[in-house]
């Protein structure tokens, strides 16, 4: 417990802030990498997931991807890409995008897939065009599940950015690996506590967002036939 005390001492020590290895710098790095990765992954996965969800084509791809990525050991994947590319940000970013895409894809796709067919038939019957059906019916109704996908992708990315520091990259993981190299356990603890804190903050933010994006009419109706939620698991 003394070690924990030292770790918190480091976190609350004003001299731990500022400079290239300051806590503030590391947190900003961690967030910038995470958001950059998420933006790229979302840019790929959301349109693709919507397309698959709307047309029903290529559903097998989503199932295979979200199942297959679970078995892939992230660390090995990170290291393999790092060895085959330049040192620095590039390797982690590519690896992180690959790892984030399946969760978001599954969220976007299941968001559409979970909608009652009759709702979509009704939309078509009242004369909505396909684009209107997607924009006014499927996207709003699918938002909560899409947010669920983004939530697990975010947690996955925050965790993986930490691990990516093993091959270089920056972020809070650097405290863990620096601490390990110089035998400074409290420093490792401090880095870990900061990552946990960051992850929990985002878990909380997404819990709120997921509630806010439920369309008004949906929330009022009693939930029947609870579909088993897609089980998304993290690999880091």
């Amino acid at each position: 417990m003394n070690l924990l005390f030292e770790a918190f001492q480091f976190i609350f020590d004003p001299t731990s802030y500022g400079g290239p290895n300051g806590i503030d710098t590391r947190i900003i790095q961690h967030l910038l990498i995470s958001f950059g990765v998420l933006a790229i992954a979302a840019g790929i996965a959301i349109p693709l997931g919507y397309y698959i969800g709307h047309t029903g084509r290529g559903r097998g791809i989503v199932v295979a991807l979200s199942g297959g990525i679970r078995a892939l050991p992230t660390l090995g994947f990170l290291i393999l890409i790092a060895l085959n590319s330049q040192v620095g940000l590039f390797a982690p970013v590519i690896a992180l995008v690959v790892l984030a895409v399946p969760s978001i894809l599954a969220g976007a796709y299941t968001g559409f897939d979970a909608i009652d067919r009759r709702t979509i038939d009704a939309a078509r019957a009242v004369g909505m065009t396909e684009i209107q059906i997607v924009g006014k019916v499927e996207v709003p109704l699918g938002l909560p599940l899409l947010m669920g996908g983004l939530r697990s992708a975010t947690l996955q990315v925050i965790a993986t950015v930490t691990l990516a520091d093993y091959v270089g990259g920056g972020g809070l993981g650097s405290y863990i690996f620096l601490g390990q190299q110089v035998g400074d356990y409290p420093l490792m603890l401090a880095g870990s506590i900061l990552v946990v804190f960051l992850a929990l903050v985002f878990e909380g933010i997404f819990a709120i967002i997921q509630r806010l994006v439920i369309p008004a009419g949906v929330a009022a109706r009693p939930v029947k036939n609870l579909r088993p939620r897609p089980i998304t698991s993290r690999t880091v």
Binding site: N84, Y166, L189
Partner: protein
């Protein structure tokens, strides 16, 4: 390929270490999630509490958890027990929702019939509710098994031996074959275990063999696949 034939002993050792770390959490999380899932359904307040705690627990990244756990439970930083406990916690966090939903999914009519036939609450749990929750539990433990297998490798960056050590060692010595070996073996072990679990499930739940367990686009929307498997 040369590297593999020259290091078969090392690969075997790492595989055994890997299994020794990965298998206990899978088994433990399955066993422990049953009473916790039951408790979640038992009281009005307990479901929300248990599900939010497990959600938060699952949000904690693994590497930081491996670092923080030793301080809390008083082990060394490189003790494999840290990874075993952390992965058990993740497994429970993942399984509890499946277990709670599965146990709650038994058709009220079926439960009432069991009561009417004279089943006590305990008998009803073991002979009706738990078996009927089987397919949901199976789906949950398959996810836990596969993700635990790959999570186990993360411990290697702290020096906790597993197939992940092939990654870290291969990285430091720049041996790509070693990294590939680790990746392929980890995935192969995960798939093998997944296959075994499915077979065990088929043995224990012969009634699910009739219906295709993969939920169809239309079918899953109308009714839970569980009740369908049971009524078929």
């Amino acid at each position: 390929m040369n590297w593999i034939s020259n290091n078969l002993g090392l690969i075997g050792d790492r595989t055994l270490q890997h299994l020794a770390i990965a298998l206990p959490p899978i088994l433990l999380s399955f066993v422990l999630s049953v009473p916790i899932g039951w408790l979640a359904n038992r009281f009005r307040w307990s479901r929300g509490l248990i599900l939010s705690v497990s959600g938060l627990l699952y949000a904690i990244p693994s590497l930081p958890l491996f670092v923080v756990l030793p301080v809390i439970i008083g082990t060394g930083l490189r003790d494999p027990i840290n990874v075993i406990i952390a992965l058990t916690l993740y497994g429970i966090a993942l399984m509890v929702r499946s277990t709670a939903d599965g146990l709650a999914s038994a058709d009220a009519g079926v439960v009432q019939s069991a009561t009417a036939m004279g089943f006590s609450a305990v008998q009803r749990f073991w002979r009706v509710e738990l078996p009927l929750a089987g397919p949901v539990l199976l789906a949950g433990i398959r996810v836990v098994a596969v993700s635990t297998m790959s999570l186990t490798t993360v411990g290697a960056v702290l020096g906790i031996g597993s197939l992940g050590s092939l990654f870290t060692d291969g990285f430091q010595r720049n041996i790509q074959a070693e990294i590939w070996t680790g990746i392929v073996l980890t995935i192969a072990l995960a798939l093998l275990l997944d296959f075994l679990i499915v077979q065990i499930g088929r043995l224990l739940m012969p009634w699910t063999r009739v219906v295709n367990t993969g939920s169809s686009r239309r079918g899953s929307r109308r009714s839970g696949s569980v009740t369908k498997a049971v009524t078929a």
